[in-house]
Symmetry: C2
Subunit: 260 residues, 2 copies
DNA sequence: GACTCGCCACTGGTATGACCACTGAAGTAT
DNA sequence: ATACTTCAGTGGTCATACCAGTGGCGAGTC
């Protein structure tokens, strides 16, 4: 019955050969973060594959954020926090027709838990950094573009402080897909003060180690952001399929969790 | 005072040119799911780029699951539910040293919410399919390998039933990275009956539309799976402990009305 | 006539080798 | 000392030839 043995994406022999080789170098520790890998010509020769094949392998790894290629300089192992390709969600969205509310929902879930975890695991340094960003937000309350920088940084620090790089990476992926809309929203926003206040309260909950509260506050914060942003989500009429429809209602319904 | 404008991964002109072109075809609906794109030679000619560049673009999209390349046949737009490259997490794990408990934590959060959403949005058909899998699980209770198939299917159906393809895709990514260990665990498992029972209770909660309960049950189910699996494997840092605590608190908060 | 088998055209995969474009640092002119 | 130029090295692109699976069409067989 289930004859699903065939690999849908066998990624040709050579490519996988290259990928596996590099992966083994990674696992064995022969390659460290930020380190430079041999030049394509040299590497290709040592692996007994053509430069073209070597490149497809490198591109594959680069596409998932494991390698960073810098034209004219070299190819390096990614450093910093784990992160997937930011464009992936956006492109997939184009294909599968992801709706804004779905992105928000995903972000809401991920980020609220991230905040909760941060409340339990954040280091003093991270809390200090968080505090710093809150200060900066209040300072740049009249400069939307500048405010956004600190806003994003604030959330990013929470991600790191959660102690779970996987969740952080997933969150980053979702968030980046929302960046554009987010920027616009902030640009025309008038009351950044309220936003700053919420961030501060979230920070306080984290500092106090109150996970449940941090989570709840983050939910509120994002719910507010959502309503401020996607007032009138435009649903393409021409496109067939009427799957999404009662979704809007559901999104609201699901807030039973915090319900109070 | 310049913000970081530099693109870490500018993905060379040509490549992005190809990617954007295909993406536009996707957005405009010129390319539908499962549809075949022109042959490389032909497509390259029409786009005024070399076949090599066209290929890097295609590989890029294939690497993120948007396209499926079949040697000797052609290249097609992915169909079915949205999903990212399954190997990505595994490879990233090799680089960033992801810990099993982190994967479990991510899965726990995603899947519990997925179950909760399924309780609110699942269609009658999906509930029927869910029921069917539960039956199959009880039927194959003496065949671990077969049981696993239905186990996975059960969770996958829940993902779809959640009505949020993004969360489903993220969950699938995390889960696939756990597949190997999961298979081993099930293989040597003795009491699949208990597992089956839990699945049934989850199903019932979903059928009854009890989101909070479904979420809570799924959490319990996964917690059990975790302990059954990572018995000796990983050090259980204080953080992991905190995670468990967090979950419990979370459950209590959310299901305040009925809970334990 | 129905079936089998193998040829073959078509599609993607790999290999070369030459050349373009970008970067950074060494070297040179001012 | 400074600013400009040169240049070696690295990734990016290209063109071409050939290798390797797929699947259909047709000759051959039963």
């Amino acid at each position: 019955m289930m004859a699903e043995n065939k690999r849908a994406n066998p990624d040709s022999h050579r490519t996988m050969q290259v990928v596996n080789h590099i992966r083994s170098l990674l696992e064995s520790g022969a390659l460290q973060q930020g380190e430079k890998i041999p030049s394509e010509r040299e590497f290709a020769r040592s692996l007994k594959v053509s430069r073209a094949s070597l490149r497809t392998g490198i591109n594959y790894l680069a596409a998932m954020g494991v390698l960073k290629v810098r034209h004219g300089v070299g190819t390096f192992v990614a450093d910093g926090p784990a992160e997937f390709d930011k464009a992936s969600l956006r492109i997939m969205g184009a294909l599968h027709g992801f709706k804004p509310w779905q992105m928000f929902e995903a972000r809401l879930i991920l980020e609220s838990h991230l905040a909760g975890l941060a409340a339990e695991r954040s280091s003093p340094e991270q809390r200090a950094a968080l505090s710093e960003e809150v200060v900066e937000m209040f300072a740049s309350i009249d400069s939307p573009s500048e405010y956004l920088v600190h806003d994003i940084l604030f959330h990013r620090i929470i991600s790191q402080a959660s102690g779970n790089p996987i969740l952080a990476a997933l969150m980053e992926t979702v968030t980046s897909a929302l960046y554009e809309d987010r920027r616009k929203t902030v640009e025309r926003s008038r009351d950044l003060r309220e936003s700053a206040e919420m961030h501060r309260s979230i920070y306080r909950a984290i500092r106090a180690g109150k996970a449940a509260e941090a989570r709840k506050l983050m939910e509120q914060h994002l719910h507010l952001a959502e309503s401020a942003q996607g007032k009138e989500s435009v649903s393409t009429p021409s496109s067939a399929q009427g799957a999404a429809k009662s979704r809007k209602a559901s999104a609201r319904t699901r807030s039973t969790s915090k319900a109070s």
